[in-house]
């Protein structure tokens, strides 16, 4: 099932791959600057992740997606198992139990991989449905359950940001594949109707407080709001051309507490100015556009949905993260994919990239044994 031949090399999307590597390198130089004050510890680790990620991405692109489809459910179940396990054996960092420690040195965050598992599960659902959309709510019960379980489990950690990502990515796929207008309206009414009792009876005080702070960071000006203020100053002070590599005062004096992870984008904005920040945003734009393009060229629904899922994943992460860093959106713990420090998010993003590469590479296999629906 994995075979490298000339057709593979010819079909391999070198531009897309180069785009991804460019984003990674930009992220690495950024992390170097952000961690130089603390001994480059995170930078060195991220270099290892980069090598592993590039390898993972390449390997995934070699997998025949029919195999992926066959094992989509297995992967899903495995992921759910880890999400469940993390609640019991996970280690707590900053109030959330999101990590499973492996031998003390490496921790993985199963929720990052859950995004991919959900995308694959949805892809299989739509592929196995021959009638096609738009779908009614009753027909969507299975995929909604498949999304609801991980969202719920991640909320229990609690990790509002990642569960929101899973929800947004899934919603994008479902909407893209079509939902009946009536069902859509019904769903909207249902959600609105459920909000009231959930808010008033189901949620505990501290949970309400957390959500309110999420929506309005000025409620907690010393915590989340503090980051937002500092981040805006860092981004704005970069100006058009930036202060230069390792010259950002906000960065070097570590005024932004999470500048290596969630607020990494503020570092490039400060040190490389509008030019650097806009360049990065454009790279992400191209990356998403290419994934969409791959989706539109896909010969079957499975690979199409996978590509849409990956596009949605990059889209939402970029929008929510950059929105947060520039003070447009509330502070949510959402990393900028390929850019923020963190092995699990990096690896899962590279696997996602590999899936898109694979769809393009594997097109030659598709002819003949997949049915095209008109």
């Amino acid at each position: 099932m994995i075979a490298v031949d000339r057709r593979f090399l010819r079909n391999f999307d070198w531009f897309f791959f180069a785009l991804v590597i460019a984003v990674c390198l930009l992220g690495l130089q950024n992390l170097y600057s952000a961690s130089v004050q603390t001994g480059l510890f995170t930078f060195k680790r991220q270099v290892v992740w980069f090598v592993l990620g590039a390898f993972a991405s390449f390997s995934v692109s070699l997998i025949d997606y029919r195999v992926l489809e066959r094992y989509a459910h297995h992967l899903y179940v495995l992921c759910m198992f880890f999400l469940l396990a993390v609640l019991f054996v996970g280690k707590e960092v900053a109030g959330s139990t999101s990590w499973i420690s492996i031998g003390g040195a490496v921790s993985i965050q199963p929720s990052e991989f859950a995004k991919i598992a959900v995308v694959l599960a949805l892809a299989r659902f739509y592929n196995s449905d021959y009638e096609g959309g738009p779908y009614s709510l009753a027909e969507l019960i299975k995929p909604m359950a498949a999304v609801g379980v991980p969202v719920g489990l991640i909320l229990l950690q609690p990790d509002l940001g990642t569960s929101l990502m899973v929800l947004l990515i899934s919603a994008t796929i479902v909407l893209f594949m079509g939902v009946r207008i009536k069902s859509l309206l019904l769903l909207a009414v249902l959600i609105a109707g459920l909000c009231y009792p959930t808010w008033n009876y189901l949620l505990k005080d501290y949970q309400r407080e957390r959500i309110m702070t999420f929506l309005d960071p000025s409620r907690d000006p010393l915590g989340a709001g503090y980051n937002a203020i500092q981040s805006k100053v860092a981004v704005g002070s970069g100006g058009l051309l930036g202060k230069g590599f390792m010259q950002g005062s906000q960065t070097q004096l570590r005024f932004i507490p999470e500048q290596q992870t969630d607020f990494a984008f503020s570092v490039i904005a400060e040190e490389w100015g509008f030019i650097g920040a806009a360049f990065t945003v454009v790279l992400y734009f191209l990356l998403i556009l290419w994934s969409l393009d791959a989706a539109s060229r896909a010969r079957d629904k499975f690979s199409g949905v996978v590509c849409i899922g990956v596009a949605a994943m990059f889209f939402w992460h970029t929008v929510v993260n950059v929105g947060m860093v520039t003070g447009l959106l509330p502070v949510a713990g959402v990393p900028l994919l390929l850019f923020s420090y963190g092995g699990s998010s990096f690896l899962s993003a590279m696997i996602a990239v590999g899936l898109v590469l694979g769809v393009k590479v594997n097109r030659f296999r598709a002819s003949g044994d997949t049915i095209e629906h008109a």
Partner: protein
């Protein structure tokens, strides 16, 4: 996926639009407002200065401060501004009396992670020391910062210490329970300081200050858009039901003997004084207690930290005869005129139960049995009554369950057949009933429980919830919470029975043969009951002080229309009438003298 064309068009359009929004936002922040932010980043980094809220005061019922706050000046060093740590440490050490090495080590220990933050060197320096440090902060002591904090102040020293409680550094578990706490916070650890923590605490204030790249504070900054400030909100004041004068008098009456005094207002069950002796000085806890002192307090055999009024469990002894008498009368075991003969002992099977008066009391009715505290009368009554009927009354009078005063308390033991089976895994014996009837054996109670029993009798059978805090007010005197009188239940004891008991208790103090004559006063009729509870059985030598009996006296006055109730326990004091009685008498006398003075003054 060709047939999804419209979807792809819409997705691409959305992608374009959103990307342009992000790019415009970057353009707005970095190019349009870039210069402004650039300036602010140079001189406008923000630091957050927190200032702790003064804790609420604790006042007595007349509004006198029992616990208030004073300012404390704490010394910090910010390594960023220090040029010569050795020199600074030597100079600071000379002023504060610390070791230079100690100061250097403290500063250097946190060098790695939190090095932008000032490090605490010492707390609560004197004003003289402050006067020495302050002028040198711009020269040789650059980097030294003085922060103002609030510390507890106890104008009356150890008075009422166990009721007030003390503060201590927050523990890990407390931190987990309340996300607003920080690791160095002081929280109430005992007494009302603990019970009313959430009212006393207040809300920490903060101000966000612009600082420059080097961490120096900037004044007159042009960029103050996002700066916030929140003044601290002082905690609420507690107005206790305690009367300081009475508390002081009760403490003085007890003196340095280990024991407890509970003074209650009968009608409202307000606690007027709650004395536990020996006591400790809460002043020692103010800046975080010295470990050596803490160990000595905890290991002290006389347990000064322990609030004997609510946490001390003692056999109630003869004061418990009030319960037995009520049960016997109510259940028809004895009538007011029933007589029993006391030869000085009572034999059941092969056991002999002695009366405290070896020569015997002769023929006595229930009134005389209470007045002279005849044990044999109650042995005989208990034999007929049985534990099952007796234990119902024991529980009804409040024994075996917490009183609900609000601070830490023990519930004691109200013995019954079921209790013994589950706690001791042994059946109930007849002898157990006999000793229970005179408050010995398994029965145990706190002085507060005995006081509540007395209040119930004085109050026409109403069992009340004791109240230690009258109200909670904010700094402007606005009432936040007001605590009302609460009747928990009414005893299922008739008026006649209560009247007979009341009259008997009056006899205890006023009859020529009463055991409580030492508490008699000329100006007011006192009613009470003595108790001498055994610590060990009669056969053991009673000469050793730790084996001597506990002395009890519980009383109310005026007997006809009770106003206050006083319960006294003197640990290993000897006989209740002789030892505890005069203490109660002195407190009651003081109360009515104070009342007369107040009346005269108001005229």
């Amino acid at each position: 996926m060709r047939n999804y064309r419209p979807g792809f068009v819409i997705a691409t359009v959305i992608l374009f639009l959103v990307t342009s929004v992000l790019l415009s936002r970057l353009w707005y922040l970095q190019v349009i407002r870039g210069r402004e932010f650039e300036k602010s980043s140079r001189i406008n980094h923000i630091t957050v200065l927190r200032f702790p809220a003064p804790r609420g005061r604790i006042l007595d019922r007349k509004g006198r401060e029992i616990v208030s706050n004073r300012k404390s000046f704490d010394v910090y060093v910010n390594i960023e501004h220090v040029r010569d740590l050795g020199g600074l440490a030597a100079e600071l050490a000379a002023i504060t009396g610390m070791e230079p090495v100690e100061i250097e080590a403290t500063v250097q220990n946190v060098r790695g992670r939190g090095r932008f933050k000032p490090v605490l060197i010492t707390k609560d320096i004197s004003r003289d020391q402050l006067a020495l440090i302050e002028p040198r902060r711009s020269t040789t002591l650059r980097g030294v910062e003085i922060k103002v904090n609030h510390l507890r102040r106890y104008p009356y020293g150890p008075l009422g210490a166990q009721v007030l409680g003390y503060l201590g550094r927050v523990t890990g578990r407390e931190l987990e329970a309340d996300p607003k706490l920080r690791s160095n916070d002081l929280v109430g650890k005992a007494g009302v300081e603990k019970a009313f923590e959430k009212f006393l605490k207040g809300v920490e204030g903060f101000v966000q200050k612009p600082i420059d790249v080097l961490g120096r504070q900037v004044t007159g900054s042009p960029f103050t858009e996002d700066l916030r400030r929140l003044p601290s909100t002082p905690g609420y004041d507690l107005v206790l039901s305690i009367d300081l004068d009475l508390q002081r008098e009760a403490a003085a009456a007890l003196g340095d003997r280990p024991g407890a005094v509970v003074v209650m207002k009968v009608k409202t069950a307000e606690v007027l004084a709650l004395v536990s002796s020996p006591t400790y000085n809460p002043q020692d806890f103010v800046t975080g207690i010295d470990p050596k002192k803490w160990r000595s307090l905890v290991t002290d055999k006389s347990h000064p930290l322990f609030n004997r009024t609510t946490q001390g469990l003692y056999a109630p002894g003869s004061v418990f005869k009030i319960v037995t008498a009520a049960a016997a009368l109510e259940e028809g075991i004895v009538k007011p005129d029933t007589m029993h003969f006391c030869p000085g002992y009572h034999i059941i099977g092969s056991s002999v139960f002695m009366c405290w008066k070896r020569s015997g009391h002769g023929w006595v009715d229930i009134r005389e049995a209470l007045v002279q505290s005849c044990d044999v009368f109650f042995y005989k009554v208990a034999e007929r009554l049985g534990i099952d009927r007796l234990s119902v009354y024991i529980r009804e009078f409040g024994f075996g369950s917490p009183t609900g005063i609000g601070i830490a308390e023990k519930q004691g033991i109200a013995p019954s057949r079921q209790w013994k089976m589950s706690a001791k895994k042994r059946p109930w014996f007849r002898g157990d009933t006999i000793v229970s009837a005179i408050g010995q054996g398994y029965v145990s109670a706190t002085p507060l429980q005995v006081a509540m029993m007395t209040v119930a009798v004085a109050n026409g059978g109403r069992v009340m919830k004791p109240r230690l805090v009258n109200k909670i007010v904010d700094r402007r005197g606005e009432v936040i919470v007001e605590y009302k009188n609460r009747v928990l239940r009414s005893l299922s004891v008739s008026k006649d029975t209560l009247e007979l008991i009341r009259a008997s208790l009056e006899g205890v103090v006023n009859d020529s043969r009463g055991t409580g004559r030492a508490a008699r006063l000329d100006e007011v009729v006192v009613a009470g009951k003595t108790g001498t509870s055994q610590v060990v059985s009669n056969s053991v030598k009673k000469k050793l002080p730790e084996y001597r009996d506990h002395a009890w006296f519980t009383s109310f006055a005026p007997s006809g229309d009770p106003e206050i109730s006083v319960t006294v326990l003197v640990e290993h004091g000897g006989t209740g009438g002789a030892v505890a009685g005069p203490v109660a008498g002195r407190v009651i006398e003081y109360y009515f003298r104070m009342k007369r003075v107040a009346k005269r003054d108001s005229r």
